[in-house]
Amino acid sequence: MKKKPNQIIGVLIAWLLIYAFFAINKPQTFLSISNVELLLRQSTMIGIGAVGMTYVIVAGGIDLSAGSVIALSSVVGGLVFNRTQSPWAAVFACALTGVLCGTLNGVLTSKLKAGPFIVTLGSMLAIRGIAKGLADEKTVSTGGEGWLFEFISKTKSWFVFPIGTWMWIFFLGLMAWAMIYTNFGRNVVAVGSNESAAKLCGIAVDRVKTGAYAVAGFFFGLAGLMSLSRTSLGDPTSANGDELRIIAAVVIGGASLSGGEGSVIGAAIGALIMATISMGGTQMGVANWKQEIFTGIIILAAVAIDRWRISRRQTN
């Protein structure tokens, strides 16, 4: 029940160190409030996805279809907007698309018992294909007019940050709370911790897992909405590889891929760490390939620390 604050604090310190490193090298730009705004805005899409992915990973699963779901949601959102001209309908369509894809993933992993890696690998390809089919293998262009396209806009902000970033912060708080203060959240932890024991205790394991995938789908749908909003395009080829960035954020945030452990807040900081590296690297003129190597090392370090903690706990 007790949170492991030291774990989140560890990730936070890591982020602050990386941030400080760039701040020392680029003090004039990196310490400004507009830079912080830029950083959060750039992390919003991955960050929203990571909120959902945390639930799946804590439940002992993984969702490789995240990027495809983001793309499909942006396409569906764009098509619905073009037909109805209603931003509300587009928002609803994005979220619903995500929830449906997530539920499908959950039902398939529970019924096929084939392991979530392979099941969501399949749905990753299938959903990407559906997105391309719906969009007729083109991008769905919208007019780009109205509040639908201001979620992560550079100019339209509301108390420093754009509304999409505020949504991220809101859901971050809500889902971090829900992990501890709802029975669904505790069941997700229980199933990821020891599925057989949860089953023995009468927890409906399949339903809990499906729920976790559906929650994740909802957030991938929202991430798709952000993508649509930012580019004003429903792009079936967008977010390619974003599933791995999202998983990386969750893992850097202290989640264990064997389930039972992970933190929504940690995952958000994980997303910030990755954005900080790419932003700071770009501002310092560090080549992209060096940034990638560094991000990779950060992920390996996070996993190594996780392993080390587990082995230390076992010897105690």
């Binding site: 029940m1 949860a198 023995l200």
Partner: protein, 462 residues
């Protein structure tokens, strides 16, 4: 000649093997006899060099020993021939045809010409896989062969072939050490025996010097201590009515019994007799093939379960005492960590768990205290039927006594208790009636006051 003197091995405070000495002669079969947990399997692993002894080297080169494990260790995706020669092929060139020819020759020689050596091992029935496991002992060409319950998955027909196989081994002047729970099997193949109890050798010698009664007496030979509190309990209404229950793989097979409120019904039987499977089928964790458990559900129907394997599904080690205790009773949307902790600390006091805080992970507790958490879960769910599978396994003596007290209290308060155990003194001390399971069937139910260990063991090994 294999000679062992003063061999010991302890796990924590348990002396699994304690000052064991014996001899085994080439060309003869030595049977290791003892109850579950008497140290037979540990002794086998020590002889095979898989575990290091605390004192006294065995004086045996592990390279000379081939151990056939109780659980099958075959690579399911390889062919029979490849499995037979796994690890024995040297050099770079791999010639399937030569391997297959040699493997087929061995199997024909052993009397199993029907096994196709080119078949993938996973396609074989279990009994034939066991044959391959044993045949592997021959391909290794090692002088000492240890067989740890090799017959547990063999059919009757294959067993007689197995006896022939063992005779071929001795004819080739191998030293064979054999573990079986079934006295008839021991008699069929063994020349000498060593009887173990609580890790010590209590008798040894040529098998014909011992009658079945003597062997059983040596195996059991313990006094029931006053670990077991027993209040006056009045059996009430029937809580569980199991009728002709048959589960997956014929475990259990056609089992019927009744259990009343305030009654403790024990289940005795060897490992693999189907005790665990019966309990899991009654609780609904295994599929019922036919018959019924009287329509009892799980926790929501006031039925609670303690698993024999704490780590596997008994308890969730990384989660807290409080959460483990309240897991089956979660209802509604909102979870209140404060209330859960409060519940946890109540049960810590009531059940006597030694812990610093209800938010402590269960994994940080001792085995006995972990088991008390599992027990608290049943009490918190206000169960009317307790299904307990080896509730004192891996539990220290002090906690055992407390668990017996909890069982007695639960029964006194009107719960019906179904208790499976491989530890007979415990069953005799705690239960009102004791059922014996043998090869999936419930072969008899005895009154705990009038039965004896000897009678029960005789039923178990019959």
């Amino acid at each position: 000649m294999l000679r062992v003197e003063g061999l010991s091995k302890a796990f924590g405070t348990t002396r699994a093997v304690d000052q064991v000495s014996f001899e085994a002669k080439p060309g003869r079969v030595l049977a290791l006899i003892g109850e579950n947990g008497s140290g037979k399997s540990t002794l086998m692993r020590l002889l095979a060099g898989e575990t290091q002894p605390d004192s006294c080297q065995t004086g045996i080169n592990p390279q000379d020993v081939h151990l056939v494990h109780q659980e099958l260790l075959l690579c399911p995706h390889l062919t029979v021939a490849e499995n037979l020669y796994l690890g024995s092929s040297t050099g770079i060139k791999f010639s399937p045809r030569r391997l297959e020819a040699r493997a087929q020759a061995i199997l024909i020689d052993l009397g199993f010409p029907e096994v196709d050596v080119r078949q993938q091992t996973s396609d074989l029935p279990i009994s034939q896989r066991q044959v391959i496991e044993i045949a592997r002992a021959l391909t290794k060409n090692r002088p000492i062969i240890l067989l740890d319950e090799p017959t547990s998955s063999l059919t009757e027909a294959d067993k007689s072939k197995f006896y022939g196989l063992v005779r071929k081994l001795t004819a080739a002047d191998k030293t064979v050490i054999f573990i079986s729970h079934f006295l008839e099997e021991v008699r069929a193949v063994s020349d000498d025996c060593v009887i173990l109890r609580d890790g010590q050798v209590v008798a040894s010698g040529p098998l014909e010097d011992f009658s079945d009664q003597e062997i059983v007496r040596h195996m059991v030979g313990r006094e029931v201590t006053d670990l077991f509190p027993r209040s006056d309990r009045e059996p009430g209404e029937v809580v569980l009515k199991v009728e002709n229950l048959t589960g997956e793989a014929d475990k259990p097979k056609n089992v019927s019994f009744e259990l009343r409120a305030g009654e403790v019904l024990g289940l005795a039987g060897l490992n693999g007799a189907g005790k665990t499977e019966l309990l899991r089928t009654v609780f609904g964790l295994r599929r019922t093939v036919s018959g019924s458990n009287g329509g009892r559900g799980q926790w929501r129907d006031s039925v609670g379960f303690i698993s024999e394997d704490r780590k596997l599904d008994g308890i969730t080690l990384p989660l807290s005492i409080a959460e483990n205790t309240t897991m089956p009773t979660r209802r509604g949307l909102i979870n209140s960590p404060k209330k859960v902790s409060q519940t946890g600390s109540n049960w810590i006091d009531k059940v006597g768990i030694s812990a610093q805080s209800p938010d402590q992970p269960v994994g940080s507790l001792s085995g006995g205290n972990q088991q008390k958490v599992a027990f608290a879960r049943l009490l918190h769910s206000e169960c009317k039927l307790f299904i307990l599978d080896e509730p004192t396994r891996g539990v220290d003596v002090g906690s055992k006594a407390e668990i017996y007290r909890l069982i007695d209290e639960a029964a006194k308060n009107g719960a019906a208790v179904l208790l499976a155990s491989s530890y007979l003194p415990e069953l005799l001390g705690v239960c009102d009636r004791i059922g014996v399971m043998n090869r999936g069937r419930l072969v008899g139910i005895f009154d705990a006051k009038s039965t004896t260990s000897e009678e029960l063991v005789a039923e178990c090994v019959r």
